[in-house]
């Protein structure tokens, strides 16, 4: 060689890698310790959800929907159920709405616990992970009591929920709320305001607001960039208008607005808000039927797109009905899919060690990316 040059090296990260949060492969082009390119390759967990959905009846799609974002099944079910209900024009009984919101918010806490726990693990701290999973387990116990399942619940049905609340579960949820509130403070102490953790996440992977909107980021990733946007408040659905809660946004408290720490902190603060919602809902829950009286699920020809606020952002379903018993087309718009698409922009020029911090801060679940 005439001139001495540094050579770019391509490294394969994944699909089996503890910090990719699932079967994600990233092609990293590196120049020394600097990441030049990060090209995500997805599809390893593709399970043909949309094709399957065309071949079963509306109710039969529900278990498949569970398996999209498999750590927030209740939330997925709610979006799908709401889309079909909109096509049908069915009104869900008040009690069912309350049960749904309680379950959905508990699932949001469980999902955020997994997100922050594993994020700590990515950065290199082990204890918060164990603490988060210990508390998540308690939520899973509640779900098991309600639905019989620990991960994939199939509990929210079209028109309401599968079963009324099990006797004794309300006390158990109340107990959990009282137990969990101080635990968030503990997590804050050991992780959020840990100087090592802050140094690893502040000013890293900054997403400016215009980039976030252009990439269609939603949920905590968008709010981390400073936009106060939450569908529960801005396009209210279900019983959210009757409940009081705040929307945490990233403020650049430790560094720049839209850095990894901001996105992480939005999730931590959202857990407190979810607890608030669960408590209010438990107080206000009325008596009554838990499912609407319905004939067969057979919507008139038409199409509808409904989106809701899931733990990882907005999940939307675009359903086309031809008037038959099976949906003509079901398209799931996943927030993780759009989140991971901006990875290359974020990783360009970052240190290799920060790539892991950036992926973790986007909080993706590959089940929803690949569908």
């Amino acid at each position: 060689m005439a001139e001495l040059q540094t050579q770019e090296l391509t490294i394969n990260m994944g699909p089996q890698h503890p910090s990719t949060h699932g079967v994600l492969r990233i092609e990293l082009v590196t120049d020394g310790e600097i990441c030049v390119k990060a090209i995500p390759h997805i599809g390893y967990l593709h399970r043909c959800f949309e094709k399957h959905a065309e071949n079963v009846d509306y109710m039969g799609v529900m278990p498949f929907v569970d398996r999209l974002d498999y750590v927030a099944s209740m939330n997925n079910d709610m979006t799908y159920a709401m889309t079909v209900e909109k096509l049908l024009g069915v009104e869900v009984p008040k009690r069912a709405e309350y049960i749904r919101v309680i379950m959905v918010e508990l699932n949001r806490i469980a999902s955020h616990l997994l997100a922050v726990g594993t994020y700590g693990l990515d950065i290199g701290t082990f204890t918060p992970f164990m603490w988060a999973f210990r508390d998540r387990e308690k939520i899973l116990d509640i779900f098991e009591m309600a639905s019989g399942a620990r991960l994939l619940y199939n509990y929210l049905w079209i028109g309401g929920v599968w079963m009324d609340l099990t006797p004794g579960i309300e006390e158990k949820i109340q107990e959990f709320c009282d137990y969990f509130e101080p635990k968030i403070d503990e997590l804050d102490t050991i992780l959020s305001y840990n100087q090592i953790f802050i140094n690893r996440t502040k000013n890293v992977g900054v997403i400016p607001l215009d980039l976030a909107i252009s990439y269609g980021l939603t949920g905590p990733n968008l709010r981390g960039s400073g936009l106060k946007w939450d569908l529960r408040k801005n396009e209210p659905y279900s019983i959210y208008p009757e409940l009081e809660f705040d929307i945490p946004v990233g403020t650049g408290e430790q560094g720049t607005v839209g850095d990894c720490w901001d996105r992480y902190m939005v999730r931590m603060r959202e857990m407190r808000e979810s607890l608030k919602i669960v408590r209010q809902a438990l107080k206000k829950i009325p008596e009554g039927p838990f499912r609407a009286k319905m004939q067969r699920v057979k919507p008139a020809p038409g199409e509808s797109y409904v989106r809701t606020e899931n733990p990882r952002g907005e999940l939307g379903f675009y359903i086309v009905s031809d008037g038959g018993l099976k949906p003509y087309r079901v398209k799931g718009k996943s927030s993780c899919f759009t989140s991971i698409s901006c990875l290359d922009d974020l990783c360009h020029g970052a240190m290799i060690a920060d790539v892991v911090a950036i992926i973790g801060s986007l909080d993706i679940v590959l089940g929803e990316v690949d569908r």
């Binding site: 020809p301 038409g302 675009y318």
Partner: protein
Amino acid sequence: MLTPTIHEKLTQKFENAILPLKELPPGSHSDPFIAVNSSKLHSVLKYLKEDSDLLFDNLICISGVDYPDRIEVVYHLFSYKHLHKVVIKSLLSDKTKPVLESTCDLWKAANWLEREVFDIMGVHFNNHPDLRRILLPEDWEGHPLRKDYKTQEFWHGIKVGM
């Protein structure tokens, strides 16, 4: 701004490229949509994004739907500035090689969303920077969400299907 107003505005600007608004039957719970001639789609979307009264800065979703006589590509747009949304549809009657103009220059989100539509529905996007399959392996045959799709028998010696 509601769909009929947006439709009126678009018709004034693009005339014949915008198809008349379809009346929804009474009691229907369907979303209203605006159908656009596919050759003018890109300029319509550009106008929707850049006009100061419309400012659709967020591309929510691109979906492909296969009908017996056509393929529809559906764009769900939203504006964080004006808090309104619209559904734009493009009808492609040539099912053997459906082609649209890419919108990657307008929204970055379009890159992957268009790749997905290409992968599972077989719609080509002109001027797309990187039009590859995204969910399926690169050497997969056919586009699974077409209604007439038949699964290939073997893929690299592995039996496909049950």
